[in-house]
């Protein structure tokens, strides 16, 4: 059964390759676009056979197919040939898989020769002959030329995006075009600009393929906090709570890694990350809400994220102390609002209130952080509404924090 599907499909693809090579019309181009993904899958599946001889036995017309695809010279008005569309890298993988390390017969030796020729063609031939001819004449290496062109293109797009000169339709097109560039380092400013655009433009403007590609690439990026934000922004509305919590924990640990790596606390990367976080303020609210429903084992990274939001710079290395205070506040609130403790031992409450008081010797935690936690615990905690209201009223009366939301406001937020 192995390989039967591929054997059956071969005549179909060969016919397609022949047709595509004969004319270059809008119909042909459309047909190519429709079949592209299936063709790529087919080329990938060819690599399953154990030897080139076996592959060529089962698919004797394979050489013809690959040849027609590689040497299809039709370049559309947009400057793309079939080869570009299929993806030269895809072809390279396919060809390398067919290369026999120790050719055992004439067929394999011939195949090797041909494959090497095609690989050379893929890596060195140029579609824009005149341009490369000029560069050759000037003694400019082709890679330098392409890199310079790429940099200009990226600058142009980044500029357009930042100045909101691109329509949502063209943003989609650019993001779609960037799918093969996710791993290209030169492209990161453009990708960043695309994602920042996403923040202000309508949600659907980035292509799904682009976000998928980012998603699968994120693990290779240490600094790609842009991926973080795009992911959550894109998936946020439909995300179930459990996966949202996991995402936020992952965001937190990525940011944590970023800040730990940066020696210079004024680093603009960290500021940019924080700025993005601030632009999506509702995230932080999600973090606080999740802190209410999480247990001690989960709260660490979420508390870190919340502390970072309120204190983005680690000036004088205060963060460690701030984290300790945040944890203490959370611990207190966790016990205060837990069902078991609803009888309100007074000293428990008192120690929480003393947490809120400013301490001149220590770097203090932003009061709004603690306040936010309190309000959310009161609103989303498991205690009955009346008791939550009572607690917050007591805190408001006894602490220096004013004004606090009144009990009636709290009841609006309560999710009963």
């Amino acid at each position: 059964k192995q390989g039967l599907v591929e054997t059956n499909q071969m005549p179909f693809w060969l016919e397609k390759a022949i047709a595509w090579g004969q004319t270059d019309t809008p119909h042909t181009r459309n047909d190519i676009s429709l079949h592209l993904k299936r063709l790529r899958d087919f080329l990938q599946h060819i690599q399953q056979f154990s030897s080139t001889t076996e592959t060529l036995n089962r698919l004797p017309l394979l050489g013809q197919l690959l040849g027609r695809l590689c040497w299809n010279s039709h370049v559309t008005a947009e400057g793309e040939s079939i080869l570009w569309k299929i993806g030269k890298c895809c072809m390279c993988f396919c060809l390398l898989a067919l290369y026999s390390e120790h050719p055992s017969n004439a067929v394999e030796r011939k195949a090797n020769q041909w494959i090497q020729k095609v690989l050379c063609h893929l890596a060195t031939d140029e579609e824009d002959g005149a341009a490369l001819g000029l560069m050759k004449h000037l003694g400019v290496p082709t890679k330098e030329y392409h890199l310079k062109v790429l940099k200009k293109v990226f600058c142009f797009y980044s500029f357009c995006l930042k100045a909101y000169l691109c329509s949502c339709g063209s943003i989609w097109a650019v993001s779609e075009a960037c799918v093969p560039l996710i791993t290209c380092p030169e492209a990161s400013p453009l990708i960043g600009a695309l994602l920042q655009q996403q923040m202000t433009c309508i949600r659907e403007s980035l292509s799904e393929n682009f976000l998928d590609a980012l998603h699968s690439a994120y693990s290779r990026y240490r600094k790609c906090f842009y991926c973080i934000f795009s992911l959550c922004f894109f998936f946020f509305p439909e995300m179930p709570q459990e996966s949202l919590k996991n995402h936020l924990i992952w965001v937190s640990s990525s940011l944590q890694r970023l800040t730990e790596e940066e020696e210079d606390e004024e680093d603009s990367d960290i500021f940019e990350a924080w700025f993005l976080l601030v632009q999506c303020g509702y995230w932080v609210q999600m973090v606080v809400q999740l802190l209410v429903t999480s247990g001690p084992e989960d709260c660490g990274p979420l508390l870190w994220l919340l502390t970072f939001y309120h204190h983005p710079t680690n000036r004088w290395h205060h963060r460690a102390s701030q984290l300790v205070q945040a944890k203490a506040a959370w611990d207190h609130l966790y016990s205060l609002f837990s069902i078991v403790a609803h009888l309100l031992p007074a000293d428990h409450l008192q120690s929480f209130i003393s947490l809120l008081a400013p301490k001149p010797q220590q770097p203090s935690l932003a009061p709004s952080l603690t306040l936010n936690l309190l309000v959310n615990f009161a609103t989303f905690g498991q205690l009955p509404q009346s008791i939550s209201a009572e607690i917050t009223q007591k805190v408001s009366k006894l602490s220096s924090l004013k004004p606090l939301h009144s009990a009636s406001h709290l009841s609006c937020y309560h999710k009963i």
């Binding site: 570009w84 090797n112 060195t124 400019v140 392409h146 290779r220």
Partner: protein
Amino acid sequence: MGGKFNPAGRVSLLLLPSLAAHSGVVNEWNEQTVTRAFHWARYCEHIYSRFHGNPVIRGVLEKQLQLTNHSLKEAFPEYNAVSILDLGRCQDLLLLWLLNNSALPISIMKMLFETKASADSTSSDYEDVRGLCNQIIQCKSACTVLRPLLGGPSVGAEVQGEMLMERLGSALSQSSDTRRAEDFLSSVLQKFEVAAEHLCPVIAAALLTTDSAVQTASQDFLLDWLQSRLGVLQHVCTALPSKVLADLAERHQKFRDAFCKLLKKWASEMEYRVTEGEWVHAATNSAVSFQKMTEHYLTLFEACPSLRTEIEDELNAQRIADGDFDVRGLSVWGDILLALRK
């Protein structure tokens, strides 16, 4: 001549990788060997970029290359001669030779085409060869894929224009004698006679660039050179769209003068065809039309409004000299004026 460092003395060493890349010796190469070969190639490129503008050292290099090429060819018939320009793109050539060499081990090929996890990669000078081909392909694919979406002047032409100016600049700065720079430009033109169409946007981009690295002296030189070669100037003004020509005129006084002069020349060469009821350029294979010419004038006025009165006065003076007629078809100058005033 360059003190202790004499690059010419190392020329034979430079060419060894090229020799090796052509022979069966590559069969024994591993990743380290390939990396070293590419380091050598980068060194060659470095030498080229440092000395190609220095006429004295360049001359010595060229001579030495010639001698070495000759002796290597005698010893190894399959050897391909390396020119001074080739030094500037040594890595390209090395890759080409390797990929064309049937003795290249598959392990090296797989290494060259490997997909890098680019988290740690930068486009810095120091690169290893792992995934080199994949990177090249990605770069080229990116250019191809994004270019059509730009919908504006060609980015490629811009880069080529800047590189052209950079080379011209170094040719000018190294010698007070302008002959080298002239030869350089002439060689470019000669090389691309067939593809002259391609050069026109490049020349325009070179003159319009706002890149700070491009010197005004280079642009000035190019303008003078254009003015002295009427054929080239004519070709450029025929091939480029009105808007680009107007931008050039607005930016460079010299171009403005030359362009206006050319438009006048074209107008004076027009004949009125009674059967068609329009003016036609008398020269054979001319791509200039009356309509195009008036379009050039109108676009020019948009970019340089101050020119309008001056040119209209000139045209009027010519019309009067022609007999001061108001009827169509008798004076090209009058008809141009009519078209401009519509």
